[in-house]
Symmetry: C2
């Protein structure tokens, strides 16, 4: 698609370059496929631009989405070896957040684990640790009330520098949609599971 011409030029006192370099908050929601996949595709593009990538998956099962993790980790290794692209960190709730000692997590329930994940992400956003964050399946702990949406919006609003954040998951809270710069609704039109097919490796995970 062409880069295009903005539909309106806002009266915000910023130059085109300043607006262009604004940190982006994107939300991929809806009941269709491609929410996480498009976020990881964006991460691949950000990697190429030399950005520091942090992926945080709020999934219960450590086996989900292994394909993207392995590929993005391989890109992180390319960076470490040759300097091409940027570094990649990938963290999953399902296998226990890597920064927490395993013994401490055994006790924690999923809500506690989700909150621990958000606490660390908030710390990193304040510290400008990464350039590009994927908060995968993050809408679920928000929707279940495990993590306070207002607190998340405040941390996002006040994040320093130029840190891009992409949040995925169904039923994104309305306040999050309001706060986002880019919202895409992935709508299921047709899915092979409707025809009785099951997922297959390399396609579904």
């Amino acid at each position: 698609m062409p880069q295009g011409i903005p539909a309106v030029v806002p009266d915000d006192g910023l130059t085109t370059r300043q607006r262009r370099n604004t940190a982006l908050l994107a939300v991929h929601t809806g009941n269709g496929k491609g929410k996480s996949t498009a976020a990881f595709g964006m991460a691949m593009r950000a990697w190429n631009a030399g950005m520091d990538i942090g992926v945080f998956q709020f999934v219960k099962n450590a086996k989900w989405k292994v394909g993207e993790e392995t590929a993005m980790t391989a890109l992180g290794e390319v960076h470490a070896r040759t300097g091409q692209g940027g570094p990649v960190e990938w963290h999953k709730m399902g296998s226990g957040w890597s920064w927490i000692r395993h013994g401490d997590q055994a006790e924690a329930d999923h809500a506690d684990q989700a909150r621990a994940g958000w606490t660390e992400i908030a710390r990193r956003l304040r510290a400008e640790t990464h350039d590009f964050y994927v908060l995968d399946e993050f809408t679920y702990p928000l929707g279940w009330g495990w993590i306070d949406v207002e607190e998340v919006l405040e941390v996002l609003r006040e994040r320093p520098g130029k840190q891009h954040v992409v949040i995925t998951g169904r039923r994104a809270p309305a306040e999050l949609v309001d706060a986002a710069d880019l919202v895409t609704d992935m709508t299921k039109t047709k899915h092979p599971m409707d025809a009785g097919r099951k997922g297959q490796r390399g396609i579904e995970w």
Copy 2:
């Protein structure tokens, strides 16, 4: 998302394993972001599963989507060096299809170039050259009548073995949607260009 239980078990005489291993035709359409990005995210996952990847971009400008190309090419190099993942080929109409001599293309208009791209893809599908094809922005030459939709559907229907195909672009023809196994409509809810922002490197390309 969980791998889930099929909604219906079809009466097609196939085992679950046979259905699982069926080649997939996916279409990403709609006016929102993420159609191509999700296709490249799928390619990343397919790469990790060791599939042979062929990407064919029906774009006029060779500068589009450079980020994904570089990252996927880096993954192809990881495969060549270490055996991890699968090989990656990336072809673009905008820079002249790589398999055609440059002198021959200078004469060709965009419709001829698009047809030459499809002819090569059809040849590869019949020869089982790749395991996973991305036909990026392919709906446009279909919609403009440059390439015959019925011919495309016939080649796809009769493709041998297990070759997955993902087609992206706005306004996917109805016959293609009917033939596809997986159709996702990326719907624009909100886009920064609406607020007067322009695209930025690592985010838009």
